[in-house]
């Protein structure tokens, strides 16, 4: 029985792993497209400032820039750990 299960279990093909990984990284790359060049630096520095007061993970900060007609809105989301 065990052997049968082992034989039936299909190994995930490497190409489908590649596709999943690419879809994630490409989506991330595209979200950064068209942003001003200073955004990654701004994000890093904001994270540093926040960390002076509270410890947060690297992915606890989300930053996005939306342009509307004649103004841009910088949106900053920080997930703080439960105290």
């Amino acid at each position: 029985m065990k052997l049968l299960e082992f034989l039936k279990r299909e190994r995930k093909k490497s190409a489908s792993v590649a596709k999943e990984r690419l879809q994630i990284i490409v989506a991330h790359q595209r979200s950064q497209r068209g942003q001003p060049d200073y955004m990654p630096m701004l994000e890093r520095e904001l994270l540093e400032v926040i960390r002076r007061y509270v410890h947060v993970d690297d992915d606890a900060i989300q930053i996005s820039l939306d342009s509307e007609d004649n103004c841009s809105v910088l949106e900053l989301n920080v997930t703080l750990p439960k105290s």
């Binding site: 093909k13 190409a15 489908s16 596709k19 990984r21 690419l22 595209r30 497209r33």
Partner: protein, 272 residues
């Protein structure tokens, strides 16, 4: 009016120069007056692939810096009428290229040619950005492999932002996908990204699919663009690609595994 087409990829070694040489040759064979320019200053190789390495006297940098005239630097192809090569400099560094200089050279070439192919260096630095800056169309060469697909996506981002058409907000560059080194056997066994996977991720129009082929190395060994090898799978695939570039509707070939006949299975029929 001349069309400027950049052959680009981000990643190195995916087949940019092979493709630029093969497609330029194909265009010239169809009677289009074509010039192919090597933008890889410091690491020129287009001359080798085109088989004219011993006839290089002046190069793109010489022309830009006024040390030679354009006609002195252009090399006429030995095999095809209407085909010219403008080699890159081997000794200078990439800073020798200036945007104004490149613009001037392209403007002069536009008067004489139907197609101007720019063979981009790998990377996203100055040389690559100058190769794409003035383009009307872009051929993004991609291998069915994660790093190549990711880099192609990066290049698409640059085409949409760091080019003249982007900066002037005119019609965007027409982007074409060219998948090279495709191996249908490995796709069938699940160890290579499928053509559909790549198309889904990059979401641009497919121009052609070139199978992994022994003919490509044979062609570069001899300095004869693979388009001339019309009996080979890669030669035919590039020829189809050129037809599509010229607006013809060509069915896709070489994307499915060839069923081997009994004889070739017994005697191990070689792939062309």
């Amino acid at each position: 009016m001349a069309k400027i087409i950049v052959v680009t990829s981000g990643k190195g070694g995916v087949g940019k120069t092979t493709s630029a040489a093969a497609i330029s040759t194909g265009l010239a064979l169809r009677g289009k007056k074509t010039v192919v320019i090597d933008f890889d200053v410091g690491l020129r190789n287009l001359d080798l692939i085109m088989g004219c390495e011993r006839r290089v006297v002046y190069d793109l940098v010489n022309v830009i810096q006024g040390e030679a005239g354009l006609n002195q630097a252009l090399i006429r192809d030995k095999r095809v009428e209407n085909l010219f090569i403008l080699p890159a400099s081997q000794t200078r560094d990439k800073d020798a290229l200036t945007q104004e200089g490149v613009a001037e050279v392209l403007d002069k070439l536009k008067e004489d040619f139907d197609y101007i192919m720019c063979d981009s260096p790998a990377g996203i630095e100055r040389g690559a950005q100058l190769a794409m800056y003035f383009a009307d169309e872009a051929i993004v060469v991609t291998n069915p492999e994660v790093s190549s697909v990711r880099d192609s996506d990066r290049i698409l981002g640059l085409l949409a932002s760091k080019t003249r058409r982007a900066e002037e907000s005119s019609d965007p560059i027409k982007e074409h996908l060219l998948v090279t080194r495709y191996n249908p056997e490995r796709v069938t066994s699940g160890d290579m990204l499928t053509l559909d996977d790549i198309r889904e991720i990059l979401a641009i129009n497919l121009l052609g699919l070139i199978p992994e082929s022994e003919a490509v190395l044979r062609a570069s060994n001899q300095g004869v663009p693979v388009t001339h090898d019309i009996s080979s799978d890669a030669g035919q695939a590039y020829s189809d690609t050129v037809s599509r570039l010229l607006g013809e509707d060509m069915p896709l070939r070489f994307h499915e595994m060839q069923r081997k006949g009994l004889l070739s299975r017994m005697f191990g029929g070689g792939r062309r």
